[in-house]
Subunit: 170 residues, 8 copies
């Protein structure tokens, strides 16, 4: 990852704790595949609310276009970001604690009318899909990303093998 | 409710929408029974986050000692208040929407370490209990409230009738 | 709704049955508020799969930029659309049947890696939020929509009243 | 498994990913016990929808009589197959991800009227039962399979030991 | 329903109580549409276990080829039938009691290896789909039913309207 | 219900509130059918704990042999009774509040090792079954009740009609 | 376990598979502590229904007074036993498979009116409590068991230590 | 932990079993951080109810001001304590058994009107938060604790790093 130029992050990946990186790193990996500059932010809706509000409010001015936000348990971070921005916010409920992410799913997706969070699946595959959805959003105005998405989709289909075995049962 | 003197609210009852008053009014009723001045605030974690942060941050200076916070669905209001105060925050998950408050319960109670919300039962009985718990907290430094709580507890026990019928099965 | 010009739909609102209009109409209403042309499509992942595949595959060529897809129970429609497009797909789990939308929520949100659906809350408020999120996506390249979103967000905050009552408990 | 003749598959076992073979192989094992030729297909409702539609649509012409379809999480594969065929489709919700198959169960079984999926238990025992149910269906027109099912059922009953211990508690 | 000839039931529709007819009647209606003679049986796994065992054991001799079994709560009837037959058994979890059919779903679908029940959706739409699945099974050896299924599937697809409205948002 | 003799209650039916009588009255009705004297007690684990402890502790001396205990929500009454007695305690989770008895079921049945509660179904049918189970317990030492149970079981089986309709589908 | 006399089993411990012994052995251990002869039976509601019906029907004649029945997943065994007897049946939902016993709990406890199963907690502690409840039932007519239960209860209370530490926080 | 003076416990940490110390020790650790004397009590609502009632009833006289109560499964201990006191009771649902604390959560939080338990998250983070909430309650009348809470809250916010990485995606 040679930083030959300064990053111009279009996507912000937020999470409440560095321990969430296990699951959220798949979002960063996927964004890199699509050639999308981004930044990774650890901020908490509950422990550092002012930092979160400030970051969310100012991100648009700084060039951010889409938020990807992961959180576990009473997962409020995505909602807190959405409260402070009119940019699209994508939420990733993380798998942690006794309830394995069912709490995070409901706390992320059941937002009240007026303040949307587009929610993906629980855990790492949700983080990966958040990155793809972010790419799909950015692709509306960026032909290069759109072309990469088309190639990604075709390659994905080709990898599925179809009939793998015919069994004679004698 | 003759306002013969100015209120000195010790408890703040918060909710995200005036439609939550149906369930939250039981908290106000109970506080009045215990002789506790309070104020009722409609503010939203998601629609008016700055107002919520400002209210939660300044409440201690204004004399508030306990928060009672009701919210439904992805119920973030109690957590948002707790993020901005070191006062005790009591959460009431409200019954609304398709999931009938199970979402609100998990979003209220499953707070991360460092930012507690003492959560009561879903709906109106939870709101009533939040008021009683607030009274129990205030009673630690207020003998008048403590005495009222003792009377309330004894009266409650007395109302339970015990044996109500003996049935001869011939 | 005088049709003085031909619609140029940017958003497609899909649902599996005309009976879903009860909940999904809030998406259409909200898009109109934001001045976004759209079309309403009744197509089923299960009863008319070829129609669905054809619609999803060709929508991009016809100018559609975002899909809003509502479905109940084993809610596959949003996933089926996402399988056929690289456009952003927003899913709305509908409240119907014995399980009140919990089935639809899981069937919509738990998509496998590679094929995202940005999922909103169960029912009509989810439909409304899908429209707002679609507007947020389109606003990245459309200043008029962006300005409307800013006004909407500010108006929403202003409607929240704050302190509504101070109660003297004598 | 000497392939002394060409297979004439009557049953198709489908799954979305080769990693599902862990749980789905029990279906293949059981079909072999009943002497039923079958083929194993890896195809995805979401990543390779055209392949899935094509396979499901043409299977009847190729001699397939019953589908056994396993999938996890937002398990749409069985429903996608049922959408393209009038053959019986049996669904196996797979145990994977944070929700351990509860999501797959609801996404498989809660199909809308008109497009049935006969759903078995979550995981490997469901895969085994899908094979037995497929055998029961084929046995309606095949005395050899019917006879094997009768023997299987009697043998299963005989293996249950009944009283295994009498304990004197002194 | 003029009985001009004696019925030769191929399908047995079982339920534990006459009150289940509300939901189960849709199975009978659908079988009639497909021209399939059937009989309706009220028998209980728990209240009349001998009757149930006798009926399930002897049905094959009497010409029954498929069972459709509806039950609510701790829904054991489908499993009890499957325990006594090698014919295909289709289970319909009924919506009743406090848990609205979630209990019936789990009690019907989570059968142990060796004794399958092909389970449909909770409630009346599950009953309708059980009838369609029974028809799909019988159609493997009956061209008339197969032809009816093809027509049904095509008609179902045609009824889905596609684009129903284009909205100009001015 | 002519009280020609003094009741000698063998069974105590307990509930936390007179409003629970709606569901619990079915226990009393059933005990009367089996000729079993009983008494109905309203006492609360939480509001009148001393009364509950005293009643549970002294019931054996007063001739009570079985407890039937109904409670809703955080249903502790059955467990509280079991904590104070070595008599059999049967628990009935009541349907009330937002969670419809799922909370009461778990709070009643998930007792720790050492202090059992034999739990019946949620609601009125659970109350009825608690009475039957109490009769089954008492019948071990009472031939008259045993005979009534035998007649009840046979009558119940006879009421199930078996084949109710044969449908010719022309 | 010297068998110096022939066992006269008063309690039958049933389970569907020898693999259930892991969890069910705690019932046997506890019955031995209370000096209660019993027998252990492996029989299945689904794989050996005739054996189960025969055993349940004849147990009373053979001197059995209480059934303890453990089963997992779609746990029908306790209900199947209760269908064939007027003796008390105690059910133990076992922890197995993807749903960890929640399925077994609902399939055991949600029995229809007329056919009770007194259900204990999921897993081994439920098995232990079933043995204690069986002892409580038998103790109604057996002073020796009653005395052992009293001693057990007192010993259990004594083992709980009360205040274990006082912490000075300097 | 040099005991240079006698402890004057203000908080009582209760749990039903010494094995609960794993999760509950975080409450003790946190109270020590805030300089709050406390005592640790192992007592059971079910196995030692008289001890529990006696402890809860007398604690106020002994100087206790807040209860922190942890319990698993059918978690009644917090409710049992609240039944015997007018002091604030904070409940911690513990993660144990097949249901991983969901049972304990519902049994702790769904208390009836009149007898509140302020409930925290499942497991060790809930125990830690109970200690913080206890400190917040005590801080209302203790400036030293209030000052520590302020420092704790600021330190917590400072530890959250904000932007941790900017990624150039070339």
């Amino acid at each position: 990852m040679a930083k030959t130029r300064k990053a111009k992050p279009l996507v912000a990946i937020l999470m409440g704790s560095t321990s969430d990186m296990d699951q959220m790193s798949r979002a960063s990996t996927k964004l890199k595949e699509f050639g999308i500059d981004h930044e990774v932010v650890v901020t908490s809706a509950h422990r550092s609310p002012a930092q979160t509000a400030e970051y969310a409010s100012s991100a648009k001015r700084r060039g951010i276009q889409v938020f990807i936000v992961g959180a576990g348990r009473a997962a409020h971070l995505a909602g807190a970001v959405s409260a402070h921005t009119t940019l699209p916010v994508l939420g990733v409920p993380l798998e942690s604690g006794a309830l394995k992410g069912m709490d995070a799913l409901l706390a992320t997706v059941q937002m009240p009318a007026g303040v949307p969070v587009g929610t993906l699946a629980i855990g790492g595959s949700g983080a990966e899909n958040a990155a793809i959805l972010a790419a799909q959003i950015l692709a509306l105005a960026d032909r290069a990303i759109a072309a990469k998405l088309d190639r990604f989709k075709k390659a994905m289909a080709k990898k599925v093998p179809g009939v793998v075995e015919q069994v004679v049962a004698d």
